[in-house]
Amino acid sequence: MALLDMTALELGREIASGKAGVKEALDEVFGRIDEKEEEYNCYITLDKEGAYKQAEEVQKKIDAGELKSPLAGVPVAIKDNMCTVGLRTTCASKILGNFVPGYGSTAVERLENAGAVIIGKTNMDEFAMGSTTETSAFGVTKNPADPTRVPGGSSGGSAAAVAAGECFYALGSDTGGSIRQPASYCGVVGIKPTYGTVSRYGLVAYGSSLDQIGPLAKDVSDAACALELIAGYDEKDSTSVKREDTAFTGALREDVSDIRIGIPKDYFGEGLDPQVAEAVRAAASALEKAGAKVEEFDLSLVGYAIPTYYTIADAEASSNLERFDGVKYGYRTGDFDDMHDMYKKTRSEGFGAEVKRRIMLGSFVLSSGYYDAYYLKALKVKALIKRSFDEAFKKYDVILGPVAPSTAPKLGESLSDPMKMYLGDIYTISANLAGLPGISLPCGRDGSGMPIGLQLMGDCFNEAAIIRTAYTWEKIRGSF
């Protein structure tokens, strides 16, 4: 098998056994990048020199028997909102266009300690605000399944890079579906873990109470393994959780005989592409045949998820993005009269339209006189949504549904109608509001050959259930 056709774990085994070298794997990846990157634009920054240097060190450690991680030596891509020491971190924004951090994010450091070789920083929606990767200040990324279509977002560069073989796996971040939706559009696997599972230290915040880092990978096994490497308590992140059960690869078993699957009827209503509905239901039937107990149920409050999400995420974002002011780092306007003029021009010129829209929405819902009616109300609804999931998870181990209402839209179709773009997040945002783990994995293609995604959500800290169900589905699908 050609190295590029291997999964990350397969490549890791080849490297561990000495059948393939780390440099050789890099050569293959950069070969593919040379071939495809101009068209797809998955990366904002490529670090060829750094990658080869890192490869050499990792190879030495592997040869000396010092590195035993299953992904040691495997090339990885990092979403450009995670700080990497000495490597430009832009958040796909002009305002951070020249920002090179002197500190790294914990998730990336964990991967590096496990011998991962970082090849570059992937494109994304500016500050992770968007669902198509079209709000990037560094150009659009194209979907490798059909380059006239978007890869999804905001982790579109990571998803496209995995799909195109421009890396073996990637890290993304998910605030309202930003890992799962592009995974679905590009036909790869993405996991958003339980809130608090992966440290947010070094992840440039969008909506702090919703953001989680997770992997995008070629299959469920790679994703589970990568998640296992980055998960864990971090004293630098107060919201990170001390949990023992992060050996996610232990759940890679083909067995759903004890799994109770609930399908929310509300997820199959108006707005869902019938081809997507059909593919998702087919997956549910296949799992039922494999022994799972499957039933439909009413998940309440689904209609409230979107306004709740955009109120909370934008409120937090409006505050999180205040630090980008031209004073300390990043872009500063060239010409200004005084301090306030500098602030105004820097931020007007440095942020794109979607980011400004969300800063304005967020500032509004936090402003005096509106706080109770919007922000506080949204927090209350968030608690109610969490409660309705708690109820559901008394009956089910896994909630199954679509990832997005449709497959990947054409480039340029979404930005003209932000409301429509926001509504596209309907199935993914609840997991963020309730802190739940969710996985997105391929479950067929539509009439135009575009990948369809299947979403499995689990109760907090029960990644094992969704990983096991996903793994089982992947095995069933493979045998079709």
Partner: protein, 478 residues
Amino acid sequence: MAREYETVIGLEVHVELATKTKIFCGCSTKFGGEVNTHTCPVCTGMPGSLPVLNKQVVECAIAVGLATNCEITRYGKFDRKNYFYPDNPQNYQISQLYLPICRNGYVEIETENGSKKVGIHEIHMEEDAGKLIHDEWGQVSLVDYNRSGVPLIEIVSEPDMRSAEEVIAYLEKLRMFIQYLGASDCKLQEGSMRADVNLSVRPVGSTEFGTRTEMKNLNSFTSITHAIESERERQIDIIEAGGSVVQETRRFDDSKGESYAMRSKEDAQDYRYFPDPDLVPLKVSEEWIEKIRSAQPEFRDAKVKRYKEEYAIPEYDIGIITASKRMADIFEEASAICGQPKKVSNWLMVETLRLLKEKSMDPEDIVYSPAHLAKLIELVDKKVINSSVAKEVFEQMFADDTDPEEYVNSHGLKQETDSGAIEAICRQVIEENPKSVEDFRAGKDKAIGFLVGQTMKAAKGKADPGTVNEILRKLLGG
């Protein structure tokens, strides 16, 4: 006749806590580091950095809350106060608006009119900002983030004070509690304690509050007193002239003795407070509170009471000594070692206070150890040195905590104890001063003083004046 007015005052007191590290990162809080050296990604607001709460800050705040009879909040949160200014690297300050750590307390103050309770509305924790340095020549300002993230508590009183005297008594009381807790050195001049004065006036007998102003930039008790007096006058003048006071923030200029408006309520910013999602709710357990309570020191009032019972020293001295935790500690420890509280107290009340005043120092900054003071007292008691030499030794000790015994030895200051040698000097002095000898013999007892002085001078101070006096009388009388 003009109406009588009552002044209504409430204070917002910021205290910089003396924790080793900052409130949300591990950087040092030490003063005087090179610009931007006590900094990290967290306290400079770098993208992706996250705050982690320093538990010691919470303990300090709770300790102050317990000392001031507050209710301690069991489930607290931190909120972001959003405003753009370059000294604030994230452009939001992490503070507490909705659920402050302490609420509903009071302190008891004593003034000439008796004792009175001043209510404490709340105490909350927050982070300090950096410092802007304005270049006077170029068109630039620089910013130093060494102070960014230094922990503060803000103690907000109820509008319970009616005069500058009460305000000062309240501040003294707070300062005493906080210094005793070791939570801060509370220096107004250096900014480790800052008081903003909210003041309004109303006709005596009125139950409604007048419109208040807030005064900032008050760097000493004197300037607070002046600011209160001038603001009271200003507001009364406005009202008497038929005008109305504008709610605003005013800056007091100490050199001119007057304040001027900084901003009015109309241009008050909307801080868009909301709970900081990067920090988890702060849960304070009963056990934690008890642990802090049991570690509380003996505060001043209790100390005064105990000193009156245990030590035979004047009440006035007790008041002065207990006004500083450092002085009280020295007093207690030195007395325990040498067993002579009266003498210890004298050294504190006379020489220590004199040198503090001379060097414009704060009692908290006394460097000498109680053990050395005890040793010095012992040296005098054993007549190894006399009291004038002791003063010289003490000055050195006060400067650098020199061991008095070593100093006496190395400087050859031991007094002459060989009575034969002293007698020889006395004889010589008698011989050289026939006039005084004659006077003494003629009944002028005062003349002996001159002779003692001459003898001490001849002995280079290293003799005990009492012994000299005795020997001279013996020689002259004999």
